[in-house]
Symmetry: C2
Subunit: 251 residues, 2 copies
């Protein structure tokens, strides 16, 4: 197994960082790594906003649901879906906005932007981890997107999708047990419900044992139970209207 795969397999989310800032050349290498990812039809439909200002970081930490590590880390990146840049590019060629609306508002281009931003973010993560740093994705950034957008001055057609904390590791958590391979990797066609259920039963046992061991017997959650709770508690239902305010009506 090579060093890169070792790095990838050794991933865990870090939620406790030392108070030590990343150097500029580290940040540059991480951003260049992000940019090296594939991008659909060369659109590069994402922007990364790096935040160092402690006041802004504290504000983002609060908006993301009081996650202290959003403020305390080596560097904080916000990955945004960005269709504004290509709209500006087309405007530079004399194209009027009305002529691009079908594209800009499409579910397709929204999907492309989310994919592009995510591929770039994962490259940034692996690059950081290969340098011995820890990372944590912050989906909580989508809790209050109107306020996050105002803080980062993102224009129409831009959506902050998630944050990425990077930094020197203070406390290293355990790796989390993933789904059994047959549940996530199917051959030739999608797995039958019957076989999927068998895999999930197996996973439930492993996850319960994992939590039991990790919490000294206090928790014994099943994965299916965790998923049921999440699905019953619909989150961020305002996202559709937020996107519409950014002109992304997902037609």
């Amino acid at each position: 197994m090579n060093e890169t795969i070792k790095t990838i397999l050794d991933h865990r989310s870090i939620r406790s960082f030392q108070e030590k800032e990343l150097a500029e050349d580290q940040i540059k290498l991480i951003v260049e790594s992000a940019q090296a990812a594939s991008t659909s039809s060369f659109v590069q439909a994402y922007t990364i906003i790096g935040v160092k200002d402690p006041i802004k970081k504290a504000e983002l930490a609060k908006l993301a649901g009081n996650q202290a590590y959003v403020a305390k880390n080596g560097h904080f990146l916000v990955f945004c879906l960005d269709l504004h840049r290509i709209q500006l590019a087309a405007a530079m060629e004399g194209v009027e906005e009305v002529a691009m609306l079908a594209s800009l508002r499409s579910t397709e281009l929204y999907t492309v932007g989310v994919v592009d931003a995510s591929l770039a973010a994962q490259n940034a993560s692996i690059a950081a981890e290969s340098m011995g740093l820890g990372i944590c994705y912050i989906g909580g950034l989508r809790n209050e997107l109107d306020q996050v957008s105002a803080l980062l001055k993102t224009p129409e057609y831009v959506v902050p999708l998630f944050g990425l904390c990077i930094g020197y590791v203070d406390y290293r958590t355990d790796k989390k047990l993933r789904l059994p391979i047959p549940a996530i990797y199917h051959e030739e066609e999608y797995l039958s419900d019957q076989n999927m259920k068998m895999e999930l039963e197996k996973y439930n046992k492993d996850i319960a044992a994992y939590y039991k061991q990790r919490t000294g017997g206090k928790r014994e959650d099943r994965w299916t139970q965790m998923m049921a709770k999440q699905l019953l508690n619909a989150k961020r239902l305002y996202l559709k209207s937020y996107l519409a305010r950014k002109k992304l009506t997902l037609e």
Copy 2:
């Protein structure tokens, strides 16, 4: 610069592979690498379908817009957004589908699934490239999703998002020049339009020179021109209705 970052920065999309299949242990390592990526709230909202059957691969190559390398490679993966598995998990806990609809139909959960699938895919890509293999993402898989879904027997709440060709490199293309860093990486807040335009003018010159050199003077495209063309030609507008057929109405 470490080996992992070298691998990341050396990425290019490979569109010509040798006729040599990946070994099972290579595939397993690539899938495990995919699984090691972060996932929002542990939902693991994606499934990977590996396709070896030459007839199926030829069919997918045709559906993706006659891209020969979808059929001819070392292995072909289809990354799907998957909310079916968590729906099944919740059903195993006695939750009725109607009680989960607000979650399942939400733009939020669609976004989570696209992010999860993409993070996993990029891990798979980097793992494969670290093994000396080449990769190419196939967004063209979204051209004919009804037919792709039928071929892969994906149920409701599952969306094949893109393919990933992996294989032994036959012909190695050039690396494509990315946007200047200041266009994609902004500090503290989103870049002003004035500064963005300056960066895009600079990029246009570099891209034109790149194509001129690569095509022996035949092409001299500007990036802004390429983006204008793309935005004027709205693609895959049926995606919204396809998602609705899969019960993903993006509320």
